[in-house]
Symmetry: C2
Subunit: 419 residues, 2 copies
């Protein structure tokens, strides 16, 4: 079998009323992409019989692999399993291997007293037309159905159970069943140039691309990511992709922030490891978000020592030794304050580098002089401190994210050029 077309169906009212953000779909798409599969359509429907039925009809009409997540819990709002049974014309039977696995999980892992509840036992009921794909980390079995040459796989919506199903079953199965093309991406991030100016600058480059390479613009956080995507035989595709990417890098070199699809916290970790240096943060308006980003990277304890989140001025004075007079004269949101915060946190945390931020994230707290969105960032070491004033025009959440990303960007640049 070759020529794969994948649809992803996510089932659950919680997605359609917006109570839950769908992160599963992005993860599934990324993993499929790595093995050369492009998700073709993604559909979300509610926990309603006719909607799910129609989704199965619609997606199997246009795709030959239909991945289904959600709707497999033990409770009465989950109707997917009996519906799948009916859709594929089977009857429900007790799967002894699954029952044994559920019993094992309840007794050995969850440490619950036996006997199992009826609803737990019912999770081991599967359509006799399904092939059970073991759910190693949960109680709801994954199920494979095949009909008219199409493959349907139903997985739980719980993210870590879905991930286990993808890694243990779905990805290997697709690699075995299909001749998969190579899909390559190269991504770079620019800073300090708008999307349309960037497009104007590289329009010659864009029109020079062969038909199997696409260029995409992904503006975010006031920066623009550029992604080249190519499809074809691996060797030739990689070669031309690398050539084109080198040309693109050259064309944007004065605004190039990073030439990979990695966040700045990963780049920062690499730079610090390379130079065997440490970092700390002094955060006012970001409230710990920069430290959170840095420590989201495994192994960051090797180079990150700590953070002083100084939301109130008393902490800026007592912990970070910011001058009382500075705060009184120019205020907490000022160049002088963030410089003193860097000096203070370098000393308290005994690190080689530090970053400090202070700003007004909104919606309240702004003034004519310092409107909401005003931010001062300082990065430095014992010898030198560099500052930047920024102004963001978004809501609180996004202002915090923008401040953190820009602070990490400035910190990376400082470490790169001062080590």
């Amino acid at each position: 079998m070759d020529g794969i077309k994948v649809s992803v169906i996510t089932i659950g009212d919680e997605l359609l009323i917006g109570q839950v953000i769908d992160t599963n779909s992005a993860w599934i798409a990324q993993e499929l992409n790595k093995i050369g599969v492009w998700v073709h359509r993604r559909l979300a429907v509610g926990d309603a019989r006719n909607e799910i039925w129609k989704a199965l009809d619609d997606e199997s009409a246009v795709s030959n692999v239909i991945l289904i997540t959600g709707g497999l819990g033990p409770t009465a709002d989950d109707i997917t399993k009996p519906l799948l049974c009916e859709y594929f014309g089977g009857k429900m039977i007790m799967d002894e291997a699954t029952l044994k696995h559920i019993t094992y999980l309840f007794t050995e892992v969850f440490k619950r007293p036996l006997p199992l509840l009826e609803s737990n036992r019912r999770q081991a009921l599967v359509p006799d037309v399904a092939t059970v794909l073991k759910n190693e980390v949960g109680t709801a079995p994954n199920m494979l159905f095949e009909k008219d040459g199409k493959i349907f796989i139903s997985m739980p919506g719980v993210p870590h159970e879905m991930k286990a199903a993808m890694n243990n079953h779905v990805l290997p199965l697709l690699q075995q069943r299909f001749q998969l093309p190579y899909i390559g991406h190269r991504t770079l991030l620019t800073a300090g140039i708008g999307e349309s100016f960037l497009a104007e600058r590289i329009k010659g480059f864009e029109s020079s691309l062969p038909s199997n390479i696409k260029l995409a613009y992904l503006p975010n956080y006031g920066m623009v990511r550029l992604r080249l995507t190519a499809q074809g035989g691996q060797a030739e595709t990689e070669k031309i992709l690398n050539e084109k990417f080198a040309i693109l890098k050259e064309e944007v070199k004065d605004v190039l922030a990073v030439d990979e699809d990695i966040p700045f916290e990963v780049l920062l970790g690499r730079l610090l490891r390379r130079h065997n240096k440490t970092v700390s943060t002094a955060e006012s308006c970001t409230g710990g978000y920069i430290a959170h980003l840095i420590t989201s990277i495994a192994g960051s304890s090797d180079y990150f020592k700590g953070s002083a989140v100084s939301y109130s001025n008393s902490i800026k004075e007592n912990v970070l030794q910011v001058n009382n007079e500075t705060l009184a004269s120019v205020g907490a949101v000022s160049e002088e304050t963030v410089k003193e915060m860097v000096s203070g946190v370098l000393k308290v945390m005994e690190t080689d580098y530090a970053v400090a931020v202070s700003g007004i994230m909104g919606p309240g707290g702004g003034s004519d002089d310092k409107p909401v969105g005003t931010v001062w960032i300082a990065v430095g070491n014992a010898q030198k401190i560099v500052t930047k004033r920024m102004h963001f025009r978004f809501d609180r959440k996004r202002n915090i994210e923008l401040t953190a990303v820009n602070a990490l960007y400035l910190l990376c640049r400082f470490v790169e050029t001062n080590s």
Copy 2:
């Protein structure tokens, strides 16, 4: 016109390769829900002509309102606008009002020198069959199309531009055109009971629900949220919903964590305001994430003073005055250490309450004695400190989230019972 059915189509390759997580759809669904509209289907397709065309065909066959986001940028990868023009049988014309608005944005807001780039001018080209809905915060105009009694609205994918379009145009328009039913939700969160045990306990309640009320189980962070959703005339629906919700609360009262759909950081803020108290955090393994959650709430500077993110033991000693002997004898991940961290941060930050966490988030750093996922949490005030040991079995990101959510939950309970 009555009987609304809404489909949301999101356009963009970045969604299908998983480079971007779709947060727009959840927001759109939430806002529609508030005015009594249920999203019926949600479809994501790539920047490909025939996929977008088919999506328009498919969704207009089942829905009468089709909301489209994405694909409107100034760059060549965005093909949506000319496609919509062709789909609705129009031709592209220059919209002078939009051009004036774009010129205003570039000169007055973005402070760019004139003349506009050709790509910026092109954003003012719209199909003559579209009604332009002004994009107050960006350059890509929103467009309304009507065909065979169906409404199509195309919005940019940039979140704050989409939000402005929804608030300023889409929501008012739908309220004007349709007789909208009332949809009510009541949500509570339980802690300390598994989904299936909870379902077993309240199965009598669930079977007592009238057909216009649905119960949903939403497990997350090791807790289970229960949501009642009712539809009908507002007065009678609210009455029965409130009655049923009161019964449900009573049935789960021993495991009830919060009886609203709010995160713990919001509950914490309310409790602290009510008692006019302050809080600080001392974070090791969460790396500032608890402080970030607390400060994500506008106005949190009224009760949050700061955080000491003590990733390295030297910070635990120097900033938080954790005993060197404690660290040497029982280690950083221990009940004694988190108790001393609470005491220390209470003093340094001069707050009424504090929370401290220390644990091993993985993937490295575990031992036989303290495997990955081991976490100690302490919450307290000057009089009393309460601790809890937890064990999580997930990846680093999720272990951090689980630790933070459980720490905030314990903190809320402590503030509730000790003030």
